[in-house]
Every structure is written in structure tokens, then in C-alpha cells.
Amino acid sequence: MSEERPTPLSEEDTTAARKAQKRRNVWLALALVAFVVLVILTTIIKLSGGAVPERM
């Protein structure tokens, strides 16, 4: 019984896929950093008492 094997990606496709993966990793890293910055920012504002709504 012959098993159908997936066609291997061409060199060009592999390079493109790796580049895309790298790009995605950079975006994910940036998103993570942004999340950490936002959490730190809200913490600082809360600790300084700036999060309480002020009467206008």
C-alpha cells in the first residue's frame, strides 16, 4: 500500500514562510511589551492616587 506523502515546500516557499513567521514573532513580542507597559502604567497611576475620578 503506497502512502501519499505531502509535497515538500520549495525553497522559495520555505524562505517566505520563515520570513512570515519571523514577522509574526516580532508583532507578538511588540504586543506583549505593549501589554506589560500598559499594566505598569495603570499600576503607577493607581499608586499615585490618579485613578480616582475627580469632581469637576
Binding site: D13, A16, A17, K19, A20, Q21, R23, R24, W27, F35, L38, V39, L41, T42, T43, I45, K46, G50, A51, P53, E54, R55, M56
Partner: protein, 322 residues
């Protein structure tokens, strides 16, 4: 048609996904309207309640609403990938076009849901975070998974999901949701059916093909035109109601009256037309398209005037009312 067949219909694209594909997953056009209405709620609450929140916290709260909207959009696209592949209007979306794998969209939606609710909690309060979580679940689960493929009232009941943002914005400032916030909710809730059904009059064949029970598919175009007019008759006076509670001023009152009258006129023209019927004239379809486009402008302008009145000091009380 089985779901395996429809999954097979999804094209496998040789090019890897771009950042734009992931942005498309978040339904950016819906996100813009969601953020805009949430911002209007946030600005109005500060002015009406006479309190000001830290601008950075306000910005993070607004960002949380945007992330929550994007999360719900991604979950919706994950679940609806099979029917999206069948409809021309949606077949180019990231999942049916083969750009983004389904499981990636789901992961993105779930992670973003958690992040948005957590950020909202940190930036404001538990009520706003809870309402944001509720609205994501309402759209991503209740509307997408339970209502959409089961009942022609899908967009009426599901419309509540899109109506939450101004309430969330309000809660983020004051920590409560008074009548004024629910008024803004009601405006979007009653706006959704005429807005969406105007589009479905144009795309009913596509919904039929995908077996989605939209009103024109299950009850016909005439019943849909009747419902569009009925909801617009309710919406037009409702749009003016914030003036009577003191939430909105003179500028809003004039704008809401004029815009409501125009909405009614366009809905009446669609009601008189044969839009959605087999062999409908080009003029009728143009009327439905016109109503759909105007409905977006209506909501945008109504909330824009609220922002101007409360955020830029243009609030003029209506004589004899306040």
C-alpha cells in the same frame, strides 16, 4: 452541504498571512463604530456626572473596548468560517481565503478577550470590565453560535452586543449605569434592525445559499420592509429622547430631529419599493443601499454631536426642559 465540504471550499493560499489579514480578523469597521460610541459614553458620563477620570486611564479603557470588539470579531470569524466561504461578500475574509488558520483566529480571539477585560478592570472598575466581558460573550457566543443560524430575530436580539459600548464607556467613568446610559444603549439597539435588514435586502440570496435564516429569507422581502419601517418609527423619537432627560442639549435635539426625519423618509421609500423581491428594479436596490449607508451616518452623527456637546462645551440646555 456538509461542513467538511465547506471547509474544503476554503482556498489554501500559498502566501503567508500579513499583518493586514490579522487586522481584518478583528472587523476594523465595526470596531471603529464600537470605539466611537464607547468614547461618546465616556465623554458624556464625565460631563453629566461632573467627574473627570485620568486621561491615560480613559485612553486605556477606550483601547480595551477596541480590543474586546476585535476579540469578538475574531471569534465570530472562527465560528462562521464555513458560511463565510459560501458567500461572495465574505469569501475573501482571512479564514475562507486561506490566509489565517481557523485555530489561530480562535486563539487570537480568546487571548484578546482576556487581555481587554483585564486592562479594562485595571484602568477603570469591575462593572465596566464585567460589561465588556458580557458584550464579548454576547456577540461571540450568544449571537454567533446560538442565534445567527437559528432565528430570523438573530440581529434584533444580537443587536444588544453592539449596543453595550456607550454603557461600558459610562460605567468606566462613574462605576454605575444610570438611565441616560441605557438610553444610548436603546438607540443602538433599535438602530441595528433597520441598518442590517437594509443590507440583507441586497444580500438575501447569499444568506439563502449559506442557509442563514435572515428575515428576507424566512419571511420574504415585504415583511422585512415592514419591519424596517416599524423599527425606524420607534428609533426616530427614541433618538430625540436624550434631550428630555437632560443628557443632550439643543444642538443634539436639532440634529436628532433632522436625522430622524431623514431616516424615516428613506425607510418609507424602501417600504414603498420592491427592494429584495425577485426582479427588483435597480432604483429599489439603490434605495435599500441608500438606507444602509445613511443609517451608518445617522449613528455616527448622533454620537458625534454628543461628543461635541459634552467634550467641547457646546451643550446648550433646551429652554423649558431643564
Amino acid at each position: 452541504m456538509s461542513s467538511t465540504d465547506t471547509v474544503d471550499m476554503m482556498q489554501t493560499r500559498p502566501q503567508p498571512a500579513t499583518a493586514g489579514d490579522y487586522v481584518q480578523l478583528m472587523k476594523p469597521r465595526i470596531m471603529m463604530l464600537v470605539v466611537f460610541t464607547a468614547f461618546a459614553g465616556l465623554v458624556s458620563a464625565q460631563s453629566v456626572a461632573g467627574v473627570a477620570i485620568n486621561p491615560v486611564m480613559a485612553a486605556i479603557a477606550t483601547l480595551s473596548v477596541a480590543l474586546g470588539s476585535g476579540a469578538a470579531g475574531a471569534i465570530n470569524m472562527w465560528y462562521d468560517a464555513d458560511i463565510d466561504a459560501l458567500m461572495k461578500r465574505t469569501s475573501t475574509r482571512p479564514i475562507p481565503s486561506g490566509a489565517v488558520p481557523r485555530e489561530e483566529a480562535l486563539a487570537m480571539g480568546l487571548i484578546m478577550s482576556g487581555v481587554s477585560v483585564l486592562l479594562m478592570w485595571l484602568a477603570s472598575n469591575v462593572l465596566a470590565a464585567g460589561l465588556l466581558a458580557l458584550s464579548i460573550a454576547y456577540y461571540g457566543w450568544f449571537y454567533t453560535m446560538l442565534l445567527k443560524r437559528r432565528t430570523p430575530q438573530n440581529i434584533v436580539i444580537g443587536g444588544a452586543a453592539g449596543a453595550f459600548p456607550p454603557v461600558i464607556g459610562w460605567a468606566a467613568v462613574t462605576g454605575n449605569v444610570p438611565l441616560d446610559a441605557w438610553l444610548l444603549f436603546a438607540i443602538i439597539f433599535f438602530w441595528t434592525p433597520p441598518h442590517f435588514w437594509a443590507l440583507s435586502l441586497l444580500a438575501h440570496k447569499e444568506y439563502e445559499k449559506a442557509n442563514v435564516p435572515m428575515l428576507p429569507v424566512t419571511h420574504g422581502a415585504k415583511a422585512t420592509r415592514n419591519q424596517i419601517l416599524a423599527y425606524t418609527v420607534l428609533l426616530a423619537p427614541l433618538g430625540v429622547l436624550p434631550v428630555f432627560t437632560g443628557l443632550a442639549g439643543l444642538v443634539y435635539g436639532v440634529a436628532a430631529t433632522g436625522l430622524g426625519a431623514a431616516f424615516l423618509m428613506l425607510a418609507y421609500r424602501v417600504w414603498r419599493s420592491d427592494a429584495g423581491d425577485a426582479g427588483a428594479s435597480g432604483a429599489s436596490l439603490k434605495r435599500a443601499k441608500g438606507l444602509f449607508a445613511f443609517s451608518i451616518l445617522y449613528l455616527f452623527l448622533l454620537f458625534a454631536v454628543l461628543i461635541v456637546e459634552h467634550g467641547f462645551g457646546a451643550y446648550l440646555p433646551v429652554p423649558g426642559l431643564v
